[in-house]
């Protein structure tokens, strides 16, 4: 069995705003093993990005604050590290790929400069070595004429190419884990596939664990080994990709899977949309946050938030009707 790389225990990140306390992430517990690829899925505002930013300690404070919890990375709680020690972790041990390839690269610096900066800082390479390695990295992520293009600026690359540069940047210091926050959402469908492919290949080659954050279950089906579904700041289902896709045990996961039109199925008359809107995570009552949108809600759902319960080994769901969900869905 693979070594445990990261353990997130009861992590909670709140934002203290004028309108009240936004519990963006509220008691999230999960783990990532070495070399594993995991997808965190949920819609905007469910806390998936905030939970990733919390791991990197990149939450703007104020208004945000990690109120409690542990993030244990290779045995040390990185929430207790000083800012200087944390800097060693970022890029060196854990690196991040952001959603917007347009805004996450500095437009006034060459790609070569941005790639070598981290290499010189973290890997103690001299300028020449760093440049050579940067060129090799660009080549590996599939940028043609890589060594010459080091002199180019971000605007000279297309969106997909920029995301490749971001991936090269993320793997440049051989991190143990890459967090990719919606890495393909801003890209075209054809390019999405290419970028994810590159990301997975790079992660495999370097034995890096990969955490993919996305709102589209379809995109990651091919790449994720495990899937964690979040809703309103909490994990509502998690399990192996196979379990979650073929045997979803939470009405929200089921709804997400059904609301996407599928190419391999007959065209339905109507899409099965999840009605309603995700709740604002301010002052949520102690009840299932999904209950107002749920077709299967029972009285109990509005009285108390269900706990995460194991259905089969490794497959958990936060739902009172998890075990009968399939019979109910058929009706």
């Amino acid at each position: 069995m693979a070594e445990r790389l990261l353990e997130v225990n009861d992590l909670a990140t709140y934002f203290f705003t004028a309108d009240g306390v936004v519990k963006a992430v509220d008691g999230v517990t999960y783990h990532i093993d070495e070399g594993e690829s995991v997808a965190i899925v949920g819609e905007s505002g469910c806390g998936k990005s905030v939970s990733a930013l919390s791991i990197m300690r990149l939450i703007a404070s104020p208004p945000g604050r990690i109120v409690h919890g542990e993030v244990i990375f290779e045995g040390t709680d990185i929430l207790k590290l000083s800012e200087t020690e944390m800097r060693d972790v970022r890029g060196n041990d854990i690196s991040m790929v952001f959603q917007e390839p347009m805004t996450s690269l500095n437009p006034v610096l060459t790609i070569g400069y941005q790639l070598t900066e981290a290499l010189k800082l973290h890997m103690d390479l001299n300028h020449k070595e760093a440049l050579a390695r940067a060129g090799d990295l660009l080549e590996q992520v599939g940028i043609p004429d890589a060594h010459r293009r080091l002199k180019d600026y971000p605007h000279q690359f297309s969106g997909g190419m920029r995301q490749r540069v971001m991936i090269a940047l993320a793997v440049s210091c051989n991190p143990r884990m890459i967090i990719a926050d919606e890495p393909t959402t801003a890209l075209d469908v054809t390019i999405q596939a290419q970028v994810l492919e590159v990301m997975r290949d790079m992660a495999k080659e370097y034995g890096t664990a990969l955490v993919m954050i996305t709102h589209n279950l379809g995109v990651v089906a091919r790449y994720a080994e495990r899937v964690i579904v979040m809703y309103a700041g909490k994990i509502i289902e998690s399990g192996t990709a196979n379990d979650v896709y073929t045997d979803p045990r939470h009405p929200y996961t089921l709804g997400l899977l059904k609301s996407v039109p599928r190419l391999d199925e007959k065209i339905p008359e109507k899409l099965e949309a999840i009605e309603g809107l995700p709740p604002l995570v301010i002052d949520l009552p102690d009840a299932c946050a999904f209950a107002p949108r749920c077709k299967f809600a029972i009285d109990k759902c509005n009285e108390k938030m269900p706990e995460l319960e194991e259905i089969t080994p490794g497959h958990v769901s936060r739902c009172y009707v998890a075990s009968e969900l399939h019979e109910l869905a058929k009706k």
Binding site: T190, A193, N216, V219, R222, T246, R262, D264, I267, L277
Partner: protein, 348 residues
């Protein structure tokens, strides 16, 4: 509640040569954007050929899907049809009348019949106007209401029609979520009772669970108001769901056009095949066994497209004919209603 009055001026039936009742016919449409150089004397040095000689028809009451990657000219096509760009060449025949090159004043009465829904629900609504005045503005512009009361009732009715609460009319865009904003954009488009709507990526900025809601809403409205849609998107699975026929665009050209079932079951053009294979299926078992056609390289620049077949630089099996030939791109009918680019048909 005021019952929507159907536009009385019944548009004349336009049976065209192909025997269909076409609401819109696009013939050899070209939209070039000039590249100039020099400060004082703006010399015209080249053209960005955003749309280069495309022809298609849209039948009354159907949805035509237009798909392609960013930069292929699909949005430009929509804007050129609505005369938001003045086409460089070609005809845009709407209800039997060629409107290509019409100016703002000529177009204004027609705008009641053709509307546009935008991609980004954040930038397409004026943040300083309330939802009610955003939806009501077209009613005022076109003089469709006589009294304040009627105006208010129409707005309330429109809000209800798109699944929003009438009391939300006084709220401002920032108080709505992305999906709700898109509903406001849709309400604004249907306010004037149009017959034709260009939908420019209406769901691609929305969350998956909200996408399905908006697609269902658009289908309901189509039935209710007898709408014809030109549905522009890059996501083929969404397009397949909502469209009757689908046109695939690449670098300013339409490379394949067919009925949705035919296009998915029997794609002919290598670009269509590649697009289809890139669509993920939410099933890890199936995904693991699927073959994926990955196109090499990038889309060439539309200011300097390849001569002859524009797809030859990325075609997985280019033949000698297409690499040499300087034939213009044109569609041929391979089976009834299924048109494919000639070069690809010749290649086999």
């Amino acid at each position: 509640m005021v019952q929507e009055t159907k536009t009385t001026e019944k548009t004349k039936e336009t049976k065209s040569s192909d025997g269909h009742d076409n609401i819109l016919e696009v013939k050899n449409l070209k939209q070039y954007f000039p590249i100039t150089s020099g400060i004082l004397l703006q010399r015209h040095v080249a053209d960005v050929k955003a749309v280069d000689d495309i022809s298609f028809t849209i039948r009354r009451g159907e949805t035509l899907g237009l798909v392609g990657e960013s930069g292929c000219g699909k949005s430009t096509t929509g804007r050129s049809i609505l005369q938001l760009n003045s086409p460089t060449d070609g005809e845009v025949i709407f209800n039997g009348e060629n409107i290509a090159g019409w100016n703002v004043n000529q177009m204004r009465p027609l705008r009641r019949q053709m509307q546009l829904i935008f991609q980004d629900p954040y930038s397409s609504l004026n943040p300083r106007m309330s939802a009610g005045s955003i939806i009501g503005e077209p009613l005022i512009v076109h003089g469709l209401t006589d009294s304040k009361n009627e105006y208010r009732e129409r707005i309330a009715h429109l809000l209800e029609n798109v699944g929003l609460n009438p009391f939300m009319a006084d709220r401002y865009p920032h108080e709505f979520s992305g999906g709700q904003r898109q509903r406001i954009g849709i309400a604004r488009a249907i306010a004037v009772n149009p017959s034709f709507i260009v939908c420019d990526e209406p769901v691609s900025a929305l969350d998956v669970s909200i996408q399905a809601q908006v697609i269902n809403l658009m289908e309901d409205l189509q039935e209710q108001y007898d709408l014809t849609y030109l549905f522009i998107a890059h996501d083929l699975s969404v397009v397949r769901h909502i469209s009757d026929r689908i046109a695939v665009m690449y670098l300013g050209h339409i490379v394949e056009i067919a009925d949705r079932v035919e296009l998915y079951e029997n794609p002919q053009h290598p670009y269509t095949k590649a697009l289809l294979s890139a669509i993920p299926i939410p099933d890890p078992v199936l995904e693991a066994t699927r073959d994926r056609i990955v196109l090499e390289g990038d889309v060439p620049s539309p200011s300097d497209p390849p001569v002859g077949c524009v797809f030859k630089t990325r075609c997985p099996s280019p033949s000698n004919q297409c690499t040499d030939a300087e034939d213009q791109m044109h569609l041929v009918e391979v089976s009834p209603e299924h048109w494919v680019d000639a070069c690809c048909v010749n290649c086999g």
